[in-house]
């Protein structure tokens, strides 16, 4: 399942979450966009130790893709948008992933997300007239260009479930992401 920041029972995490939403609202209103690009301006990408609590996350200088995606999801939903979490498998070179593995181990983080040239990654989707995927780690929209070349997506899944199935695979066609039949694995094929 996608990463979720945890809440302490004391008020610290509730305060932290309120702060995030307030900061997001203020910045979104100033910038005229609902997309929380400011998260990546504020937080570097780096290892976190899970379970990760809201009060810890907002005060960190580094967040991993899961924490960024969860924060982005909260921000987007607070702006009235319907969202979905997105799980992605991406392909990199063994050299690239080797750097990340060493860094995560040195920080005491877990490296389960790193495979042999493949990594697990998290984004967030905005579900409206069209389905758009936002990567808060790269601070960029994810479109068909992400399916080829360096760092290409090899699999993508939307959570929560659609049509009662836990996790829904997706493919890119006609300028948009589309939920595919979960019984197929068409997610790596580009529409012609």
């Amino acid at each position: 399942m996608p990463s979720r920041l945890a809440m302490h029972t004391s008020s610290c995490c509730e305060e932290a979450r309120e702060w995030l939403l307030l900061a997001n609202t203020s910045r979104c209103r100033l910038s005229g966009t609902a997309v929380p690009g400011w998260l990546r301006d504020r937080y570097d990408w780096g290892p976190c130790r899970w379970p990760f609590h809201w009060c810890e996350a907002v005060r960190s200088t580094e967040l991993d893709c899961g924490a960024l995606a969860d924060m982005a999801d909260e921000c987007l939903r607070s702006e009235g948008l319907t969202t979905s979490r997105v799980q992605v498998v991406k392909s990199f070179s063994p050299t690239d992933v080797g750097h990340w593995a060493r860094r995560w181990r040195a920080a005491g983080g877990s490296t389960w997300w790193i495979g042999d040239g493949l990594i697990y990654h998290e984004d967030v989707a905005i579900m409206g007239r069209t389905l758009r995927v936002f990567d808060p780690t790269d601070n960029a929209w994810v479109d068909e260009t992400a399916l080829t070349g360096y760092g290409r997506i090899v699999a993508i899944r939307f959570v929560p479930a659609v049509r009662g199935v836990e996790g829904s695979w997706a493919a890119y066609a006609d300028g948009d992401w589309h939920i595919t039949d979960p019984s197929t694995r068409g997610q790596t094929e580009r529409a012609s």
């Binding site: 610290c12 309120e18 307030l22 900061a23 209103r29 100033l30 005229g32 966009t33 997309v35 400011w38």
Partner: protein, 749 residues
């Protein structure tokens, strides 16, 4: 063999489209002779081997324009010409019937691209950003920049755009662009959103194709360095088809637009030629220059070979064309400076074809100053003025201002259901006339120091009508004894923790600085730790106990720093924040205090009318809210005085006039941040507005920045000794004025 001439071939950091057009034509047609035509050997694309030949013209200042037009006519009759320079296209369109081989828009088509109103936008289903054409009165320009939070673009009519951050950056940009582009400048609103470009080609009203390009890499100047191209289809294509027919378009074209988050598209430029990235579209399989030539020449079709949907630019050394070195055209240092950024000489062409820069309108007499708000009635029939400069206070105008503010507060209260109190900001201008007006109108008064508290008390204010603000309001408290005031807003968590539980006031609150706002004042909510500390500090004040002060929040972000629309959004964020504190602390917010450095125009036209709605929403969201406090300063005080000054010297040249007066920026210290209007009195005692023109008015000081007005038209009848007035001489122009260059003389009023 068909010959095609291509103009505008410079390929530097700010490239023209000619080289890309030529490469696209060559890709489609092996047997076409391509000739580059430009106006300087510094146009680097001349040296590219894609051109079979080059035709370098003398620079624009040397060209006989009639002869040159004849050459263009000949070229376009014997062959074809694809123009790549906006001003060249505009010049050619003047009184010229294009021959069959001219592959560009004619005069009627060009009218649709006029940057002043962009009539094509409506055809295409785009909106147009707010715009002011220069020259324009300084006050109008300042209002535009203020209301858009300082953000905007200053553009030449055909070339260049400078991004603006504030009034000062506008002034710098204007100084830089003013001489380069004498045909006039445009001040355009900055639109937030994603940039987009559409390139298209049409021939005799028929659209031949269109592509959309999304920039994927940009230079620090914002120019395309890599992009993704896809064909335009659907409703956008249909709209473009209909637009080309309506405009009668022939040639290439580029639409530059911004798509806001809500999907609205704003057309920010319509360039009447192919864009510099046009070969990127050819790479993607849509060869628009070739389609254009094929349509004009009657070729059966164009073989287009898509290589990739994305393109990227690289830096690439090429040999210089034999016999064509950059030293071929000798330049003077000044021309070298001008042509460095524009090798094709567009600034020189602009100088040649521009109209007379400004019409020197006669000064407009004020027939009945009492009829207009702009000119104080106190000036009518004004005589017997002694020494100048003299700051003349305007009691009637001031009373009117305070009356209108009182009425506004009543109207807002009636409509929103929330009681509104007005607190006059003493620091803005503590002149006794203004303090008395505040007292008479039953306002509160806002003080930032104990000295100001004493001023208020001396004027007759009871302590219960004093609001205390600022970083050190208790500094210099006599005998350490604090008087009970109406409200106190802490400027920091530290002050709230230290003073909050013992501050003698009916309302205790804190000034907040919302995330994303840059300021030294208020508790910054950019940091989650500070947020938690603030919440903890509020919790520990014990304000929930019976008899404890009521709790309030204050926001004082200048509307000119963020824009008047954004200010309203910030107020809504304040209300959200107040709601969050209520939830976390369990303490109702009873009071919201609003300041914002509102200019009278912005207050009257924008914020005043919006206040009812804003406070109504606040009342709905915060059920414990009991009142709002408004803290106008400039809004009330700016127009309360006029600075009278006399003409000392008039310096005239053929082009412009410089007037020296006995006033200076010492009496008007805020002029650099906010220009004001000037008036002059003719010998029959009538007052006249100074219209826009080429002249300027400078002060008596030996300081380069002692300039009181720019771009004004000094009346021909003005003589040394005549009286003039600088309006808006109240507020900070009064309170921050200083003594300078007057020896031991007393400071002005």
């Amino acid at each position: 063999m068909t010959t095609v001439y291509v103009t505008g071939v410079h390929s530097g950091p700010n490239p023209s489209p000619g080289l890309g057009v030529a490469r696209s034509l060559r890709q489609a047609f092996d047997d076409v002779r391509l000739v580059a035509l430009d106006y300087s050997t510094r146009s680097t694309g001349l040296h590219h081997s894609v051109f079979d030949d080059v035709l370098v013209q003398r620079p624009w200042p040397e060209l006989d324009l009639e002869l040159h037009r004849d050459l263009i006519t000949q070229i376009s009759t014997d062959g074809y010409l694809i123009p790549g320079l906006d001003l060249e296209i505009a010049w050619l369109a003047q009184d010229w019937a294009p021959p069959r081989g001219y592959l560009g828009p004619n005069a009627e088509a060009l009218r649709w691209t006029d940057k002043l109103d962009m009539p094509a936008a409506q055809l295409l289903g785009f909106r147009v950003p707010d715009l002011v054409a220069l020259p324009a009165p300084e006050s109008q320009l300042h209002q535009f920049i203020r209301r858009h939070g300082g953000k905007g673009w200053l553009k030449g009519r055909h070339y260049e755009a400078k991004m603006l951050r504030d009034w000062q950056s506008f002034r710098s940009a204007r100084e830089e662009l003013h001489d380069r582009w004498p045909e006039g400048l445009l001040l355009q609103e900055h639109i937030l959103g994603a940039e987009g470009c559409i390139a298209f080609a049409a021939w005799k009203s028929r659209l031949l194709g269109a592509v959309r390009m999304r920039k994927t890499l940009v230079t620090p100047e914002g120019k395309t360095w890599a992009g993704r191209v896809e064909p335009v289809t659907g409703p956008t294509y249909s709209a473009l088809e209909e637009a080309c027919e309506a405009m009668g378009w022939s040639g290439g074209g580029e639409l530059e637009y911004i798509e806001a988050d809500n999907g609205e598209r704003f057309l920010i430029d319509f360039n009447p030629r192919f864009p510099a990235w046009i070969h990127g579209a050819t790479i993607a399989g849509v060869n628009l220059p070739a389609r254009l030539l094929a349509a004009a020449a009657g070729y059966p079709g164009v073989h287009e070979r898509p290589l990739a949907q994305e393109f990227v630019r690289v830096v690439w050394e090429i040999p210089i064309r034999s016999g064509l070195g950059p030293s071929l055209v000798r330049t003077t240092p000044s021309e070298d400076t001008k042509s460095g950024k524009h090798p094709s000489g567009m600034p020189q062409l602009a100088s040649r074809i521009s109209e007379a820069p400004r019409h020197r309108a006669a000064a407009q007499p004020i027939e009945d100053p009492g009829q207009t708000d702009c000119f104080p009635a106190e000036l009518v029939g004004l005589t017997g003025i002694g020494d100048t400069p003299l700051r003349l206070r305007l009691p009637e105008a001031t009373r009117g201002r305070f009356d209108r503010m009182t009425q506004l507060a009543l109207d807002v209260e009636r409509r929103s259901g929330l009681p509104v109190r007005v607190a006059y900001s003493l620091k803005t201008d503590p002149h006794p006339m203004l303090v008395a007006a505040a007292l008479e109108h039953n306002f509160l008064v806002e003080a930032i120091s104990q000295d100001e508290v004493r001023t208020a008390l001396t004027a007759g204010f009871p302590t219960e009508r004093i609001v205390l603000n600022g970083p050190v309001p208790f500094w210099n408290t006599p005998n350490g004894r604090r008087r009970r005031v109406y409200a106190w807003f802490a400027d920091s968590v530290e002050a709230l923790e230290a003073q909050g539980s013992r501050a003698p006031s009916e309302i205790v609150g804190v000034r907040v600085r919302l995330p994303g706002i840059s300021s030294r004042f208020g508790v910054s909510l950019d940091d989650p730790t500070t947020w938690s500390t603030l919440v903890g500090a509020v919790r520990s004040l014990g304000l929930e106990k019976p008899g404890a002060p009521r709790f309030g929040l204050q926001i004082h972000t200048a509307s000119s720093a963020v824009g008047t629309d954004q200010w309203q959004l910030l107020f809504e964020t304040l209300v959200d924040m107040a709601g969050a504190i209520e939830r976390l602390v369990g303490l109702p917010i009873r009071c919201l205090d609003l300041g914002g450095g509102w200019h009278p125009d912005d207050g009257d036209d924008v914020l005043g009318p919006a206040l009812s709605g804003l406070l109504g929403k606040a009342r709905s969201g915060l059920v414990g809210l009991e009142e709002a406090i408004l803290e106008p300063g400039k809004w009330l005080a700016l127009e309360s005085a006029v600075l009278l000054t006399r003409v000392v010297e008039i310096r005239r040249t053929d082009e412009a006039c410089e007037l020296v007066v006995d006033a200076s920026i010492a009496e008007m210290p805020n002029l650099a941040n906010a220009p004001t209007r000037m008036i002059s009195q003719s010998h029959d005692g009538t007052w006249h507005t100074l219209r826009e023109g080429n002249d300027r008015i400078v002060g008596r000081l030996c300081m380069e920045e002692d300039v009181l007005a720019r771009d004004v038209d000094v009346p021909d009848w003005l003589l040394p000794g005549d009286l003039m007035g600088v309006l808006d001489a109240g507020a900070y122009n009064a309170s921050m004025s200083y003594e300078f260059g007057r020896g031991s003389s007393s400071p002005v009023g």
